[in-house]
Structures are given as C-alpha cells and as structure tokens.
C-alpha cells in the first residue's frame, strides 16, 4: 500500500477508437494481461502516474520506519526487540526495491528524495499518527500491514513488470509482519487488565486511520478509472476497504476488543459489514501536511539526509580517489 490518491493527467478515460495507433497497441497489450517492461514504449501519463505511485509507496516504507522505530529501544523483551528490528530492516529493504523499480522509469533516487523532502511527493497518511504505547506496535502490524496487504496483493498483477515483481517479494514479508502484529495484540488482550486496556486504546486510535489508508471513495474519480484502465490499480478504494473491514472485524472479536464504530453491523443481504464513514476532513488535513506527526516525520527525514551529506560525500570522494589511483597504477604499469 501506501499509495493514496495518485493523480493521473487524465481528464477522462478514452476508448481504443480515440487512440493513436501506438497508444492503442499499448492499451491492447494491457487488456490482454501482458506486462510492460522498462525499455518499451509507454504513454507519458502512464509513466508519470507510475512514478508518482511507486515513489509514494517507497517514501511510505521509509517514513514508516519512524513510528515503529520509536519503540525499538523500549521493546519489552529481547525477542520483541529482535522481531521489531527485523521488521524495520525489511521496510527499509522494501523502500530500496521500490526506489529501484521507480528508477526504471527514468527518475533518480535523489530526485525522489528531493520531492519527498520538499513536500511535493506524498507518503501514506497513516505514518503521520503517533505510536503512544507498545500496543500501537501490535496495532500497526495487525491493522496497517493488514490494510497494506489488501492493497498490495492485487498489485502483484499490476501491468508494469518491475512494480509487480517488487510486490511479490514485499507481500511475503508483509504477511509475516501482520501475523507478528496480531500476535502482539493477542498476548496483550489475554494479559493483565492494563495490557488489555492498552490494546483497546490502540485499536481505538488506529482503526479509522487504517480505513483511510484505502483513500477516499473514488469510484467516480477519473484518476482511479484511468489507473484501473491501465491495470496499475485493480480494485476500487471502497471495494478494498469493505474487504478489509470484513476480514478485520472477526479478528477484533477473537481478541475480545471493540471496533470503535457504532454504525458497524453485519448486513446479511450484502454478505458484508455496514460501517461508518471515516472523518474525511481529517484525512484531507493529514495528506495536506496537517496531521499529528507530519512535521516531525518530514523533519526527521530531512535531518537524516542533511546530517548525512558529509558521509555520502566522503564515500563519493573516496571512490573517485580509488578510481584515480587505479588509473595511475595502470599508466605506471604500461
């Protein structure tokens, strides 16, 4: 996951008959379920949309290290500490695959960082919420990674080959993280009254932000329609959100926890749950930079980048020196 509200340049989705021959051939390949590879022709808007989406996804993995990293030094047991470290390491690895996938579309990692640091590129709204207790680490694994998987599993069939292949690797690890998160919640829910209260409080705070991870209802949006026509996106936001609620509610019940939604009710006729509306005013505030931790998160990333300039420059300078030395040795040998 972690790519919400990705804009395309489309005003409306055009039919095959309205397309130039090259674009039409491209669309026909997509319709036939073929993968698009980096060196092939693609419409400029397809390229731009994918760069937006994949980089947003990569940035989310990187920024997502921060709320969880916040609890590594306070993890309650050696085993929990090790598991959390491994998870944060995996996330950095996911960021790396995704930046590499985006680079195949002709943008550099440094350019993407610049867009993140300047606020031009977005990352998932979820990481702008604070981790206030150990239970939040469980809730993030369970709910946030759960929502991410819901969104990412279909992306394994995305039309752009490098992105689809990155997703295959990432999904395996995410499922593992989700199980670990659920395990933390299980232990807390069966623990002392204080631990159970901690678990409920975490669910209360993470439930709605997790539902917002699927983005606003956008069945009518031209961006979504175009992304679906290109098979960059396979399901609507609402479809995925419904699936997530239906999967998660029984898990909450199993834990003995209450989902903080008075409107939540099983609907026999549709074979799914009815549920309330997330606070979309809050959602738009968070994605435009006004969530609880937006400033801290971006500041932490900018600081890491700026403080690390000497380190990167040092490595670059050493590499040039080594190259020059090898060159000199070659000349001397001749």
């Amino acid at each position: 996951m972690y790519a919400q509200m990705v804009k395309t340049e489309a005003k409306r989705v055009r039919s095959l008959d309205e397309m130039e021959p090259q674009e039409r051939a491209f669309q026909e390949r997509i319709d036939a379920g073929q993968k698009i590879e980096p060196k092939e022709w693609m419409p400029e808007d397809y390229r731009k949309t994918l760069i937006r989406q994949i980089s947003q996804h990569a940035h989310s993995e990187i920024v997502g290290q921060l709320p969880e990293g916040n609890w590594i030094t306070r993890a309650p047991t050696l085993e929990r500490k090790a598991i959390l470290l491994a998870k944060v390491q995996d996330e950095a690895g996911h960021g790396l695959y995704l930046y590499c996938a985006a680079e195949t579309l002709g943008i550099s990692r440094d350019q993407m960082y610049e867009q993140l640091h300047s606020g031009k590129a977005k990352y998932s709204s979820i990481f702008n919420y604070p981790t206030l207790s150990w239970a939040d680490i469980g809730a993030i694994g369970w709910l946030v990674d759960g929502a991410a998987i819901m969104n990412q599993v279909p992306l394994q069939r995305c039309s752009y080959g490098p992105y689809a292949r990155a997703m295959v690797r990432i999904c395996k690890e995410e499922s593992f993280h989700q199980r670990q998160g659920f395990d933390i919640m299980t232990v807390l829910s069966k623990g002392t009254p204080e631990q159970k209260a901690m678990a409920q409080d975490a669910l209360d705070r993470w439930w709605w932000p997790s539902l917002m991870m699927f983005g606003p209802s956008d069945d009518a949006s031209v961006h979504s329609a175009q992304s679906m026509a290109w098979k960059i996106k396979q399901n609507s936001n609402d479809e995925l959100r419904q699936k997530f609620v239906d999967q998660t509610v029984p898990q909450a019940k199993y834990l003995g926890l209450t989902v903080p939604d008075p409107a939540l009710k099983w609907n026999e006729a549709k074979g799914g749950h009815d549920f309330g509306e997330p606070d979309w005013t809050e959602f738009f505030a968070v994605i435009s930079g006004e969530g609880p931790c937006n400033h801290e998160r971006l500041e932490a990333r900018r600081k890491a980048w700026n403080d690390g300039a000497w380190f990167r420059d040092g490595l670059t300078a050493h590499a040039s020196k080594q190259a020059a030395r090898r060159q000199a040795a070659r000349i001397a040998a001749e």
Partner: protein
C-alpha cells in the same frame, strides 16, 4: 568445577559478553530511520539485530550457568546499572554517524579475535555460541573497517570527523585488554583467553586500517575502566531507563 554445568564464573563471563552485545545493539538501533543512506539504515539494523540475537544466546547461557531459574529477559530488563557488565565503550552515545561507525569498528576488531579464541573454550556452550557469533561478527568487522577507511580517506570533513571519533573513543579501548580475578579464573580453567593476549591482533588490525584511512591513533594510552565490575559512565542509566520502562511499569506481565 566441571566445565559444563553450573558455574558462577561462566555465568559472570556470559553476562559480560551478553551485556556488550545488548548495549551496543541498543545504541545502533537508535539510528533506525535516521541513517545517512537507506543502505546504512539496513546495514545498521542488521548489525543491531545480530547483536540482540547474540545477547539472547549469552544471557541464556548466563541464566543456565547461574542455575537460579532466571530468564534472559529478567536479567536484561530488571538489573540496574551496577549489575551491568558491559564495556564503557559500547555505552558511549552515538554522536555523529562517524563516531557510531568508529565505536563499532574498535569493538568489532576486538570482538572477532575474542570469539575466535572462545571457539576453543573448554566449555562447549561457550564454544558453540562463539562459533555462531563469529560468522556474524566477521561481517560486522568487514563492513566497519571498510567504512572507516572510506571516510578517513574521503573528504577533508569526513577525515576530520573520523579523527575526532578516534580521539573521543580511544580512552575507552584499553578496558578490553584488562584482566581481573574472574579472567584469571577463566584462563586457568581454559574457558576464555587472557584479555591481554587479544591486544596484538587488535592493534595490528587497527594500525593497518588507520594507515589506509590516513587516521592517527592517539599516543596517550590511559584507559577508562569500570564497566566490567558495574561502575559505568553516566550514560548507562538513561539507556536502562528507556530500555526497561515497560517491564518496570507493568511488573510480572508477559509480552
């Protein structure tokens, strides 16, 4: 005293080993998400994870050799500063990324030869842990030495920072080679090497690496010491306050 089974000396030695790994792993993990490059975030988390894994093994051995039925989490999360046995070097604050790397290098260059020597320990459990850990630590040393060279011989700024890191950390290196009564007992029983015997290999590695990195080791050889008998710097109390918070605030809970 049998080489395998209950042994206060083995228990105390395993605490020293485990505490070094725990505290250094903790320090490294403070960098998560804040490193100067994504690759460094991954490498540092990986190193921290290895060290926490080694902590579990050593503290597990400490509990076993102590024979009081305690668990590794109890001794990690419920001992206070004076009960901790780590070197002062590993509890030093991260500082800039250069200081973090230098601390890692100075430790790795000692840790690897120590583990290699421990692979021949008369206690099978020590030898087994050392063998497993030495594979990970060989990688740690390769990485930290490589970065010390690149940054020492990089730009003027990276050189200055790495030299400052050496100057700051040097007084904490001597403690690695000092022996006390416990060491004498361990040496006599063939359980662990004499700490001073590790100095030559360490010195040789550091001299070679610093030459390549164009760095200078300080000439002063005064050693700050005390960590191995529980007399620490002011930093450890803060590390433990943070690390032990949940276990202290919710006594007896399982996590």
């Amino acid at each position: 005293m049998s080489a395998v089974g209950l042994s206060p000396a083995v228990a105390e030695f395993a605490l020293r080993m485990g505490d070094n790994c725990l505290i250094l792993g903790h320090r490294n993990s403070e960098w998560c998400g804040h490193a100067p490059a994504l690759e460094e975030d991954i490498a540092l988390a990986n190193t921290a994870l290895d060290l926490i894994g080694q902590t579990q093994l050593w503290l597990g051995l400490a509990c076993e050799a102590e024979g009081k039925g305690r668990r590794p989490d109890e001794i990690a999360f419920l001992r206070d500063v004076s009960g901790y046995r780590n070197l002062l070097l590993v509890e030093q604050p991260n500082g800039d990324f250069g200081r973090t790397l230098m601390r890692q290098y100075l430790f790795d260059a000692w840790h690897l030869p120590l583990l290699k020597a421990l692979m021949g320990s008369a206690d099978k459990r020590i030898a087994e842990i050392a063998e497993k850990a030495s594979k990970e630590v060989a990688y740690h040393l390769e990485r930290s030495a490589d970065l010390v060279v690149r940054l020492g011989d990089g730009t003027a700024e990276s050189h200055t920072r790495m030299q400052a890191a050496v100057d700051f950390l040097w007084p904490y290196t001597g403690e690695m080679f000092l022996a006390d009564a416990l060491d004498e007992e361990l040496v006599a029983a063939g359980l662990a090497p004499e700490p001073g015997s590790l100095k030559a290999a360490w010195q040789e590695h550091v001299t070679r690496t610093f030459a390549e990195a164009t760095l200078k080791a300080p000439e002063k050889s005064f050693a700050q010491k005390g960590g191995r008998r529980g007399v620490h710097s002011e930093h450890l109390g803060y590390i433990l306050a943070e690390m032990q918070f949940l276990q202290r605030a919710y006594p007896g809970a399982s996590w």
